[in-house]
Symmetry: C2
């Protein structure tokens, strides 16, 4: 296991669950559909919103809108704390306090910069869409100049990031093992349902394979 | 639609998606398995962590551990911003900028108080377990006095809360409707896999119905 890149990224509670290598951090960010961005208002109050993100190498792109309060705060270079969590299962122990969840999470610290370069903007919006639904950018219409202007995308370095992962069964103490209580793991996964075509679909359009075969990554179940 | 309880809870971007009634807010909190708690460090930095929550009437209980840094900050009465999001689907529009997600989210503002009363602590740990897996507290061993002391639970009033909900298909402008691009919604749902019994299970223990029949609420798919 690699070392924490900073004191605030070091996993202190359950340090054995911590990981700091780019591959582990990157894989979790790539699978998580959304992240939570926290920042501090000028009045010193905490704020957190869910948003879409995508990774390109060591850069995390965060999506927003020109109209959003959040992103106005981010534009001023405010530090953020970004968190993404994937739930992998419910861990049922023989006692209530030993219950837990299996999860993979990432925390990233930094001060985002706004993406203004047209070329990077184009890359960022592509990776954001491909992050959510791989294959989609080959089909969908690209943004117009006006649409680009209405979009705000921020870039955050992944330099200061850490992962925290829990796997496996319940950690019941030996004295609980004889209790007549079922214990184990109930795996969880974000599963797609039946695609619902828009009722204004142009004639003859088939549902693409990246929709019918959609599957979010993660542990095999 | 009821009114926002405060200026900071008012949904400003897409106000038509906002809701402020207790029933809507409560239903989202009840279904979301985890929430994200954001607070500000004494140094003025933003922090956010995922944790388990549960609602009892107009109180939101937030689970933690005595060892956690977060909860030491909360104990000092620091204001928090709590966010819970349920993803309901991917919304595929005919152009990349019109892509969206269907979701139900809640934001709660306030300053949590630590639960210290033994009776409320007992209630809070029960609703936390029942929130995650209804039926479980009838089987699992209750906490010992020592275990109660190792647990930190915080209570937050739901007085200052708002919900934000997006439903339905893509909002493509008319001029995009003739594009030869599939559009529609791919529903998403947190789905359980096959239960994995602990390998130290006492003999003759059957997997309970609340595990085999586990289903997180949400829109019928």
């Amino acid at each position: 296991m690699s070392e924490a890149p900073s004191e605030r990224t070091r996993v202190r509670r359950h340090p054995e669950r911590g990981a700091y290598d780019r591959q582990t951090v990157g894989a979790i960010l790539d699978e998580a559909l959304i992240c939570h961005v926290a920042w501090v208002t000028p009045e010193g109050e905490p704020r957190v919103i869910p948003t879409i993100h995508a990774r390109a190498g060591d850069t995390l792109y965060i999506h927003g809108s020109q109209a959003s309060r959040t992103l106005r705060a981010l534009r001023a270079g405010a530090p953020v704390c970004v968190e993404a969590t994937i739930l992998d299962g419910l861990v049922l122990a023989r006692s209530t306090p030993m219950h837990s969840m299996n999860y993979r999470s990432v925390v990233v610290f930094g001060s985002p910069r706004e993406v203004t370069d047209r070329e990077e903007m184009d890359l960022a919006q592509r990776v954001l869409v491909e992050h959510v639904i791989p294959g989609r950018t080959a089909d969908a219409r690209v943004p117009t100049d006006v649409e680009f202007k209405e979009t705000a995308i921020f870039a955050l370095s992944l330099e200061e990031a850490s992962a925290k992962i829990r796997t496996g069964g319940p950690g019941d103490p030996d004295e609980d093992l004889e209790l007549p209580v079922w214990a184990g793991v109930l795996p969880l996964r974000l599963a797609p349902g039946e695609p619902e075509p828009d009722d204004r679909l142009a004639p003859g359009i088939q549902t693409p394979g990246y929709v019918t075969g959609y599957r979010r990554g993660g542990p095999t179940m």
